[in-house]
Each structure stands twice: as structure tokens, then as C-alpha cells.
């Protein structure tokens, strides 16, 4: 589904990604982890073309993300993305946040879009917040609305960029639970996160990045058993202490 081939990216002399290759098959859940500055957020943003890269290729469902002729908006409408800072549109109600993209991008009728939005909100337990505005919701609620907003577009894959890093501890679980149920339904997911408990539960594979390189790419059991590289072991020991 998503194929990253030898992608490199740099700013002037500063290298951000170094010859990264990664394949995510349909239905797979891949967790990408690593220390700050390892390039994991950049890598995931390259997958839907939000960040450009100088070398290599990325294919989504056979379409080249970096090629000049690619219709990026159309491509992106099939990939859902959830951001660390939720990024709900503050001037629209929760319902409108979820409905508007469907109406304007997928050309759905308003009634259909709003019905879909309400269904998703119901599933998240947030139906009562439909007419509220983002600033009136807690962080955990906002992030769940953001996930609903992405799901409303019926994406074939979802990208998560540190979805729980900006949340207070009490709210992390409510978001992770939603992500777990998505994974169990068979959604193709790439998740940048520090939440190793989540990885242990639903990930198929774990990818460890350090200084722009993919250092380790192993099946979950293998990774948490004995990772091959020292760096990954070091990282894991620090993270897993929590």
C-alpha cells in the first residue's frame, strides 16, 4: 500500500532523512519510534507529500507521491492524517470540521456528510459535542474529533504523527483506545509514537529510526524480544521504564 524507496531529504548541509526504505502492506499497523530529531515525523509527512524529498521515491497504492504530475489533493483525500496538535479548524463547529471536507473535497451532499459526521461522533461518544467549538473541548476530545474528521473521508490508510504527545496523561488512553479499535478493524496505519504499550497491543511491525536512518525494522515480537541494534535497545530501555 505504501512503499518508501531509498528516500533522502536534506536542508542545505543538514541531512534529515538518509536512504530510508519501508513498505507497509494493506491492513498492516506499523509503529515508527525513535529519539527526537530522528526524522520520524518528517518521514511520515513525506508519505502524503506534505514534505518534499530530494532523493528516492514513495508510492501510495501505486501512485508516485513525488512525481510532478500527481494530483496531490486527490491522493491526500484517500489518506487520513492525525496531527500532534489536533489541528481542528477553530472557526468551525465540531460537526462542520468533520462535514465540510466531505462536502468540498468528496462532493458529498450536506445531509449525507452531516449524517456520516454524526455517526462517527456517536462511535467516539462525542455526539453531544457536535455543535461545540474546538476551544471548548478537552485535548483528548479534540484529538478524537480529529480522528473522526480523518475517518469521514473513508481513507484507505491513516497516518498518525505523535497523536498523544500533546495530551495530558489522563486523556492518552481514550485516544489510544480509538486507535486500537481502528487497527482491529483492519485499517492500514503508520503511527509515529512513544507509546510502546500501544505498539505491543496492535502493531504488526516496529520501525526504529535514529539520526535520519531506519536502524531497525522488525516484527513486533522480534523487536520487543531482543532488538538487533544497540541504539534500539538503549532507546527501549529508557522508554519502557515509564
Amino acid at each position: 500500500m505504501i512503499e518508501v524507496r531509498q528516500v533522502s531529504k536534506w536542508y542545505g548541509n543538514f541531512g534529515v532523512l538518509d536512504d530510508c526504505s519501508l513498505t507497509i502492506s494493506k491492513g498492516e499497523v506499523v509503529v515508527i519510534c525513535g529519539p527526537s530529531g530522528s526524522g520520524k515525523s518528517t518521514l511520515i509527512k513525506c508519505m502524503n507529500g506534505l514534505e518534499a524529498f530530494q532523493k528516492g521515491e514513495i508510492f501510495f497504492d501505486g501512485i508516485s507521491v513525488g512525481a510532478k504530475g500527481t494530483d496531490l489533493p486527490k491522493l491526500r483525500s484517500r489518506i487520513g492524517m492525525v496531527f500532534q496538535n489536533f489541528e481542528l479548524f477553530p472557526h468551525m463547529s465540531v460537526l462542520k470540521n468533520i462535514a465540510l471536507p466531505q462536502i468540498k473535497i468528496l462532493n458529498r451532499r450536506r445531509a449525507e456528510a452531516e449524517a456520516r459526521a454524526e455517526k462517527l461522533l456517536l462511535r467516539m461518544g462525542l455526539k453531544a459535542q457536535a455543535e461545540k467549538f474546538p476551544a471548548q473541548l478537552s485535548g483528548g476530545q479534540q484529538q478524537r474529533v480529529a480522528i473522526a474528521r480523518a475517518l469521514a473521508m473513508d481513507p484507505v490508510a491513516m497516518l498518525f504523527d505523535e497523536p498523544t504527545s500533546a495530551l495530558d496523561p489522563e486523556m492518552i488512553n481514550e485516544v489510544l483506545d480509538v486507535m486500537v479499535s481502528l487497527a482491529q478493524e483492519g485499517m492500514t496505519m503508520a503511527v509515529v509514537t512513544h507509546e510502546m504499550g500501544f505498539a505491543r497491543r496492535v502493531a504488526n511491525r516496529v520501525v526504529f529510526m535514529d539520526q535520519g536512518k531506519i536502524v531497525e525494522d522488525a516484527a513486533k515480537e522480534e523487536f520487543f524480544g531482543t532488538p538487533r541494534s544497540d541504539r534500539a535497545q538503549q532507546f527501549l530501555s529508557k522508554i519502557l521504564q515509564h
Binding site: 489533493p73 489541528e87 479548524f89 477553530p90 472557526h91 465540510l100 476551544a135 471548548q136
Partner: protein
């Protein structure tokens, strides 16, 4: 000081009529100029936030040229200099055929000058929006145009309502410069009444009061607008 007061003259003909017509001229001048300024300024402001280097440069040049030359000099340029460069037919129209050339020249000059200020406000409004918002919109599949239309401009404009109001008031105040090329706007009216009747205090007081009232009304309008369009959950600036 020997000065005989005559406040009643402000309400007598023809002076009352002059004041009314001067006030209307000022208002029309300001409103027409503001329409130009807002439309053109928004376009240029947006241009300065795009990725296209050429468009950004055009926007920057426009802003730098139109805000570094005094408005009075710009008005002189439009009225005395530019017509000379127009093709013969256009020149004839501007100088003889067009009704009220001084008025429309002032509208143009004032509009283009103010557009450079509006452009800066719009630019700063858009740039103050955290970049994550644009990323989120693009990630959903919105095109660049849709991103500006549904996210960047609605939020950006709301942020700069106070500054735009300042520019709008500026247009009202700057309209007074039109008197230098002969437009009978409000300040010119005061001068004219003074010249005819020598009742300087009354004339200038009346005009001063009118300008102050307009400012007060516009500020109240802005507070109303700000409250109506406020993004729920954020604080509005309101206050003095």
C-alpha cells in the same frame, strides 16, 4: 480677542448645505477608496504568502512602492503626471470627458495607497496562523485555493479586524488630502465657510465634531463586528 460668535450660521443656507454635501463627498470618497483598497489589498496580501517567488516579489514591490511614497505625492502623480502617459483617447477622456476627474483621481490614489496597508494586515493575519492548520487542511485533500478560502482567510481576517478598522479610519481621515486637487470634501468645506464668513471657529468646530463622530461610529461598528465573528473560545481584543 474680538470675535462675534454665530453658531446659527451652521444651520443656515447655503452653509448647512455645504457641510452636508462636503460630508457626503468625504463618505463617498472613503467608501469607494476602501472597496478598492480591501479587494486589491487582500489579493496582494495573499500573494505575499504564496510559495511562488514571482508572485511574492510582485506583492512586495507593490507594498514597498505604495507605502513609502507620501499619499499627497501619490495623488499629485495620479492627477498631474500619469494622465500625460496615457494614449491620446484615454487622456482626452480623463481630462475633459470624465465627470469629476478630481474626485475619481482621489479615489484611485487613496485606494491604491490604502491597499498597500491592507495587504500588510492580510499578510500578517495569515502568517500568524500556526502552520499546522495549513498542513491539516492540505492533508485532508483541500487544494491550495480551498485552504485559503475555508481556513486561512476566515481565521486571518478575524485576527486583523482591529488593524483593518484602523486602516478604514485612515481612509476617512486621508480623504481630506483630496482638497489639494480641488475636491470639496469636508475639510475643504470648513475652509470655504471660513473664507466666506470669517466665522472660523464655528466652521472648523462643526467639521471637527463630524470627523470625531464618524470615528466613534466606526469603532463601535468594529466592536460589534468583532463580537459577532469571534472564534468561540478565544478572547476578543475589544477594549480601548
Amino acid at each position: 480677542m474680538n470675535y462675534s460668535w454665530d453658531w446659527g450660521l451652521l444651520f443656515r443656507d447655503p452653509y448647512a448645505g455645504w457641510i452636508v454635501s462636503g460630508f457626503i463627498t468625504t463618505c463617498l470618497l472613503a467608501i469607494y477608496a476602501w472597496v478598492i483598497a480591501f479587494a486589491l489589498g487582500s489579493i496582494i496580501g495573499v500573494m505575499r504568502t504564496l510559495n511562488n517567488k514571482a508572485l511574492r516579489l510582485i506583492g512586495t514591490i507593490y507594498v514597498e512602492v505604495f507605502r513609502n511614497i507620501p499619499l499627497l505625492a501619490q495623488i499629485f502623480l495620479w492627477y498631474f503626471v500619469i494622465p500625460e502617459f496615457l494614449p491620446a483617447d484615454a487622456q482626452r477622456y480623463v481630462k475633459r470627458g470624465m465627470p469629476d476627474p478630481q474626485f475619481w483621481t482621489s479615489v484611485l490614489g487613496l485606494g491604491l495607497y490604502t491597499a498597500s496597508r491592507v495587504a500588510e494586515q492580510v499578510r500578517s493575519g495569515i502568517q500568524s496562523i500556526p502552520s499546522g492548520q495549513q498542513s491539516a487542511a492540505l492533508a485532508m485533500g483541500f487544494t491550495r485555493i480551498q485552504t485559503y478560502r475555508y481556513v486561512l482567510l476566515p481565521i486571518g481576517y478575524r485576527t486583523v479586524i482591529p488593524s483593518l478598522t484602523n486602516d478604514f479610519l485612515g481612509v476617512f481621515k486621508n480623504s481630506s488630502l483630496a482638497l489639494t486637487i480641488g475636491v470639496m470634501e469636508l475639510t475643504a468645506t470648513a475652509r470655504q465657510i471660513d473664507e466666506y464668513t470669517f466665522q472660523s471657529f464655528e466652521a472648523y468646530a462643526a467639521v471637527t465634531v463630524l470627523y470625531s463622530c464618524v470615528t466613534l461610529c466606526v469603532i463601535m461598528l468594529m466592536r460589534f463586528l468583532e463580537r459577532r465573528t469571534r472564534i468561540v473560545g478565544t478572547a476578543s481584543l475589544g477594549g480601548a
